[in-house]
């Protein structure tokens, strides 16, 4: 382990702290997946891992490689930006799909569609397709 011994003390301690923090938060999120009862509670749990879990481990990686290379290395921001942008898109699509599936089953576990908005538009009054 040559490169780990070459790290200065502050960088090693910061890297260790952020590694354990990020991994612990990801583990808490995974335990939340395991223990929550319904899907709509469960969909919140992995965001722990994608927000501060990913952020802390990327920060640890940045600190480690910056101290090793004696210059600032920030290409971990790429992963962080990508995860931050894509996780809400994925989870919102998934939650919408789950609501749609539960509604089409019709067991009354989710509220019906017309509680908060107008009833469905009549499709025939729209402009006819020009194809």
């Amino acid at each position: 382990m040559n490169h780990l011994e070459a790290l200065p003390t502050w960088a090693a301690l910061l890297t260790a702290f952020f590694l354990v923090l990020g991994a612990g938060l990801t583990l808490i999120g995974a335990i939340g997946i395991l223990r929550f009862r319904s899907f709509f509670e469960r969909v919140h749990a992995p965001t722990l891992g994608t927000s501060w879990g990913t952020g802390a481990i990327l920060l640890a990686s940045t600190i480690c490689f910056s101290a090793l290379g004696s210059r600032l290395i920030v290409h971990e921001i790429l992963i962080g930006f990508f995860i931050t942008v894509t996780t809400p898109v994925t989870l919102m699509l998934l939650a919408r799909a789950a609501i749609y599936r539960k509604r089409t089953e019709g067991k009354g576990e989710v509220p019906p569609r017309s509680l908060l908005r107008l009833p469905d538009r009549p499709a025939s009054t729209s402009t006819p397709p020009t194809v």
Binding site: L13, A30, L34, F39, I83, A97
Partner: protein, 93 residues
């Protein structure tokens, strides 16, 4: 001394991430509905990406960074495709 602390921290982080993948895999197998399985697949992708990053810190090479980037991109694409499939019944309309 600090190298030993860092080694133990890396080992603890790898253990915790592997346990997180195990929790997700359990729910992936047991999950009552298809959307639970897709959610757990997404969580497993993120955990695997973090695990690869941790291995990269341990070995000190930057190849693992690119592997983690590719894993995150593939996880996003596959989760979107599966969510679209659950919504519509087909991926490309």
């Amino acid at each position: 001394m600090t190298a030993a602390i860092l080694l133990w921290a890396v080992a603890a982080a790898q253990t915790m991430l592997a346990a997180a993948m195990g929790c997700s895999a359990y729910r992936l197998i047991r999950g009552p509905r298809a959307q639970d399985r897709v959610l757990c697949l997404d969580a497993m992708y993120v955990s695997a990406m973090l695990l690869v990053l941790t291995v990269g810190i341990r070995t000190g090479s930057s190849i693992y960074f690119e592997a983690a980037l590719i894993i995150s991109v593939l996880g996003f694409v596959s989760s979107i495709a599966l969510a679209k499939f659950l919504m519509r019944g087909e991926v490309i309309e």
